[in-house]
């Protein structure tokens, strides 16, 4: 078990700056997800931690030891790759045993640990098969078992579920969470899928443009995004951003008034679709409904607030028709105010 400190790590590919002074601390036994769109540098950061890529500057410290210049094999970690990288010329048993064999573990030790990892991932029944005979989900399990068999201090995962179909992904996600909780390994998990990150992680680091925009628990990140990007990236539908004029501490949209912070001229109201409730009498923020999509669990309303695109989630039984104007009640404590010029959220009072 070990904690990970990433200290002002910079990575440049030629003139392109893939990572700009990223710092991150992962506590012992914690599960941190690196979440971001493709090209945000999350995989690069993971590969730097693994030692597969060399940082341009900065340090990586694992369990108190500076591993910045160490080869991958000396960092005491294990990794699950996006395409699993299960060795095709070895049986499942030998794949899972690979790390242990490299550590020169005794035969009895190898057998015991492989069997334990196999039991954990439910792959005991095909230990003597070759990976070519396995399905994607089974290979995925082998890859995780191989990583857990060495009882690593740190487990790195690079989009391990992205190659599975939707149903299997959900199943593996649940299972992964249970298995990793049991193992208690410090884990860094790269994904572009917000539901994966929200479901699995203790904390999420949202990355954008080579830096970390926000680190926090899934609920924190969801409810109080630190930037416009985080609000727009997380949540389905994404957060709505409505430009409003604020004067004297009050923002007026139609007849509705919301208390607003004084800072900044371009003020944007960040509003989660499910934080707005349809008012029974049409009062509140006016919302022109253009499209109504019944999603089963809820109605997704797409329309405009003050001429700006917005998506609102309504209860499935609500009676709303396209072309109608409805009123929205908004709890002022649930909204986020964004300074439009910087894209950053304004700190709550």
């Amino acid at each position: 078990m070990a904690d990970i400190v990433i200290d002002r790590v910079v990575k440049e590919f030629g003139s392109f700056r893939a990572l700009q002074e990223v710092s991150l601390t992962v506590n012992d036994g914690e599960f941190v997800a690196l979440l971001g769109p493709s090209g945000c540098g999350k995989t690069t950061l993971l590969r730097i931690i693994a030692g597969l890529e060399t940082q341009t500057s900065g340090r990586v410290v694992i369990g108190g030891q500076d591993v910045s210049d160490l080869a991958p094999r000396k960092r005491g970690l294990a990794m699950v790759f996006q395409n699993y990288a299960v060795f095709p010329h070895m049986t499942v048993f030998e794949n899972v045993a690979f790390g242990l064999r490299m550590q020169k573990a005794s035969q009895a030790d190898v057998k015991r640990k492989v069997e334990r990892a196999a039991a954990l991932l439910h792959i005991e029944s095909y230990l003597d098969r070759y990976p070519a005979k396995l399905s994607g989900g089974q290979r995925q399990r082998v890859a995780v078992a191989r990583a857990l068999a060495v009882e690593p201090a740190v487990l790195l995962m690079d989009e391990p579920l992205s190659n599975l179909d939707a149903l299997l992904r959900l199943e593996m996600r649940t299972e992964l969470k249970a298995v990793l909780r049991e193992a208690g390994t410090t884990t860094i998990y790269v994904t572009h899928d917000q539901t994966e990150a929200m479901g699995l992680a203790d904390r999420i680091a949202v990355m954008y443009g080579g830096k970390i925009d926000q680190i926090g628990s899934p609920l924190e990140i969801y409810a109080t995004p630190a930037t416009r990007f985080v609000g727009g990236f997380i949540g389905s539908p994404p957060m709505n951003f409505i430009k409003v004029a604020c004067s004297g501490g009050t923002a007026r949209i139609g007849e509705a008034a919301l208390p607003c912070p004084m800072a900044g001229k371009d003020l944007e109201l960040g509003l989660r679709g499910e934080d707005a409730a349809l008012s029974p009498n049409g009062s509140g923020i006016p919302f022109d409904v253009r499209v109504v999509e019944p999603m089963g669990s809820h109605l997704l309303l797409t329309g405009a607030i003050d001429g700006q695109l917005a998506r609102i989630v309504a209860p499935p039984t609500a009676k709303v028709n396209a072309g109608e104007r409805v009123g929205l009640n908004v709890d002022p404590s649930r909204v986020t105010w964004i300074d439009g010029s910087t894209g950053r959220a304004i700190a709550r009072a």
């Binding site: 693994a50 030692g51 597969l52 080869a71 991958p72 094999r73 970690l77 294990a78 990794m79 790759f81 996006q82 395409n83 990288a85 060795f87 095709p88 010329h89 690979f98 790390g99 490299m102 550590q103 191989r146 060495v150």
Partner: protein
């Protein structure tokens, strides 16, 4: 509306059903022609080699040899120097295989895995070694080989054959290593391998089929090469060079025997590594 749709689909369906059998016929015809193209000459050579002195001149040829005899073959093998030449050929071809793989595979690996300055120029340069005709190089080579004490040795011949096989080996192994995902290697590094260990434990087993194919081509290039071998040897000739000299004055059935012996090792070698070849071409063989 529905009738027109049905009218439109039915001829298409018929054609779709007719196609596979026609295609299969074409496939089998093609296969038969290809097999005949390779096997008929070999069979005729074998017929000449084992059909005895008279069988060679008999016309029309019988499909089955009437008087099977190993006389020509054993007499041919008894000719002084044939066995020695055979040995020289095997040594030269074997060394060529070893050198081409030992030098070509690392070059191919470097080309596949690393980006370095002048990579494309290097790739071109590797091929460029084939641009110089051997005939022009023959005389200076002979002189240098005499000076270095390499003249008239199978080792010297294998060096030249390696030059011929090396560009091929480097470029084939390059695409071979490119075809092996980098993640396999990275996984090996993460799980405790040094770069060298990762290569031995993970990359090499996966590359083996392709390396076998490369070895075959190096072997065949050396085995079949006659020009350099004739120039660079006098007494220690390789089989091709030796046969070229003696067979010009031999009876026809001896020539067939010689030709047949030239074919055998290549066939045996390909047979020995066929499992890897098939694996590389994606054909399952059990």
């Amino acid at each position: 509306m529905t009738t027109t749709a049905a009218d439109l689909t039915s001829p298409a369906k018929n054609r779709a059903m007719a196609l596979p059998s026609a295609r299969r016929l074409l496939l089998w015809t093609g296969l038969a022609v290809l097999i005949a193209w390779v096997l008929v000459p070999i069979y005729l050579v074998a017929l000449g080699a084992f059909g005895g002195r008279l069988g060679v001149f008999r016309w029309p040829k019988s499909i089955w040899p009437s008087d099977l005899s190993f006389a020509a073959m054993s007499q041919f093998l008894a000719i002084e120097g044939v066995f020695n030449a055979l040995l020289n050929s095997l040594i030269a071809a074997g060394l060529t295989v070893v050198f081409s793989i030992a030098l070509g595979a690392p070059a191919g690996y470097a080309l596949a895995r690393y980006t370095f300055r002048g990579q494309n120029a290097y790739r071109l340069l590797v091929l460029l070694t084939r641009a110089f005709p051997l005939a022009i190089l023959a005389l200076p080579l002979t002189v240098s080989f005499i000076r270095l004490g390499l003249y008239d040795t199978p080792f010297g011949v294998s060096l030249i054959h390696t030059v011929l096989a090396l560009p091929f080996a480097a470029l084939v192994t390059q695409s071979l290593f490119m075809g092996i995902p980098r993640e396999y290697e990275e996984a090996a590094w993460v799980f405790g391998c040094t770069r060298f260990q990762a290569f031995i434990k993970v990359i090499l087993p996966l590359a083996l089929p392709g390396l076998a194919a490369t070895a075959i081509f190096a072997f065949v290039i050396s085995w079949n090469e006659v020009f350099a071998a004739s120039i660079l040897t006098v007494r220690e000739r390789t089989l091709t060079a030796y046969l070229l000299r003696i067979l010009a004055e031999s009876p026809l059935h001896y020539r067939f025997a010689g030709g047949f012996i030239l074919i055998i090792p290549s066939v045996l070698f390909i047979f020995a590594v066929r499992r890897y070849l098939f694996a590389v071409w994606g054909i399952a063989s059990k």
